[in-house]
């Protein structure tokens, strides 16, 4: 916020950084395709990689909820966790076709908190 734009990358440097970021991201996707050709979905390595992937996704998710940056960090942690718990409650009350209602419950509660605070 208080960064002087003199520090920031600009001009060509910025676009080269974008190209580098795009190539790096696509590289990861392409390596995945290459490796997937030699992996059988019944194998032990497949089970291990699936567990690793779920753990990575969980780590990313919990980080966004527990240790967020910016505006979300101004919401008390217990409010964030309480809203998550309520949304999960809606979700598991009837697991099929409850994703959208649960998502709306959580999001609207968060918007509601933002309005009343």
């Amino acid at each position: 916020m208080m960064n002087t734009m003199a520090d920031a990358l600009s001009g060509w440097g910025l676009w080269i950084a974008l190209v580098g970021a795009c190539l790096g991201t696509y590289f990861c996707r392409a390596i995945g395709v290459l490796l997937s050709n030699s992996i059988n979905q019944e194998s032990e390595i497949f089970r291990w990689l699936a567990a690793v992937t779920y753990a990575m996704v969980a780590a990313l998710t919990v980080r966004l909820i527990v240790m967020p940056l910016g505006l979300m960090a101004t919401v008390p942690l217990w409010i964030r966790i309480l809203i998550c718990a309520l949304a999960i409650g809606v979700m598991i009350s009837k697991p099929t076709k409850r994703l959208v209602p649960a998502l709306l419950t959580g999001t609207l509660l968060m918007v509601g908190y933002g309005v009343i605070r």
Binding site: L23, C28, G32
Partner: protein, 261 residues
């Protein structure tokens, strides 16, 4: 080694194809079902995330082209945020490329766990194009739905799902860019919150115990490794928590009857 490609048929896939119900009549049918399934929660989540990203680009002084190109060519929200943050603080181009690549390593294992579930005839070079449509949203939905879809229709379903998610992110970014500063903070809170909430909710639908344990351990180790080193934390917490879950499954769970392996 690709020249040694043999047209072998995986026996496990024949069995799967036999028992999965005739859910779709044709690949075309599966493609549109993918679009329809994307049109609910996944599109909503991605759109909200990209609106937030577009607003972030505007408020930090980037132009609309740069912000939109990022969504179009990277299509990986956590990496996009890292790119902007590091560009704002004036990191070097090499450091940015490395940090973004590290946050994208999850795509390697996501692809490796999703793509072997396609039919053998679909597993060719065209997957190098389809893989760009892979993001956490499409991955989470596909991992849940694939067991109920015939192998020969899975690719068409995935492309429908991923394509709408990718295409919706472009107008989302542009809208966010031009709405920046006009949206009340309460709405911004909702936009930021909907993404992690979606993933949290999809976790409740994960059935195999090995993956449930991996999720729980990932939730514990994620913040710990994030404090130790931010850039590598996803990779390290994934490897540690995932390997522990795998070993717990292998040592204890598999021997017990009635546990979904």
């Amino acid at each position: 080694m690709s020249s040694t490609d043999q047209p072998y048929i995986d026996p496990s896939e024949i069995a799967l194809e036999g028992c999965a119900a005739e859910r779709f009549k044709s690949p075309n049918n599966a493609f549109w079902a993918g679009i329809r399934d994307a049109a609910g929660a996944p599109a909503m989540v991605l759109f909200a995330g990209m609106v937030g990203f577009g607003a972030m680009g505007k408020t930090n002084g980037f132009d609309v082209w740069f912000t939109t190109f990022t969504s179009f060519f990277m299509f990986a929200l956590p990496g996009q945020v890292v790119l902007l943050e590091m560009a704002i603080t004036g990191s070097s181009v090499v450091a940015i490329a490395l940090a973004v690549t590290l946050t994208s390593t999850r795509f390697i294992t996501m692809t490796v766990t999703l793509f072997p579930q396609f039919h053998q005839k679909d597993r060719n070079r065209s997957l190098y194009a389809s893989v760009h449509l892979l993001a956490m949203t499409a991955w989470a939905i596909s991992m849940k739905e694939f067991h109920a879809i015939e192998t020969k229709h899975r690719l068409a379903y995935f492309v429908g799902l991923g394509l709408l998610c990718w295409l919706i992110s472009i107008p989302g970014t542009i809208l966010g860019f031009y709405l920046a500063g006009m949206v009340p903070p309460a709405v911004t809170l909702g936009l930021v919150f909907i993404n992690p909430l979606f993933f949290l909710l999809t976790f409740t639908e994960v059935k195999p115990w090995i993956n449930r344990i991996a999720l729980m351990l990932g939730c514990i180790f994620g913040p710990i490794f994030f404090i130790v080193d931010r850039d590598t934390s996803l990779l390290t917490s994934g490897l540690v928590a995932g390997t522990m879950a795998y070993l717990i499954d292998r040592k204890f769970l598999r021997k017990r009857a009635g546990v979904i392996g």
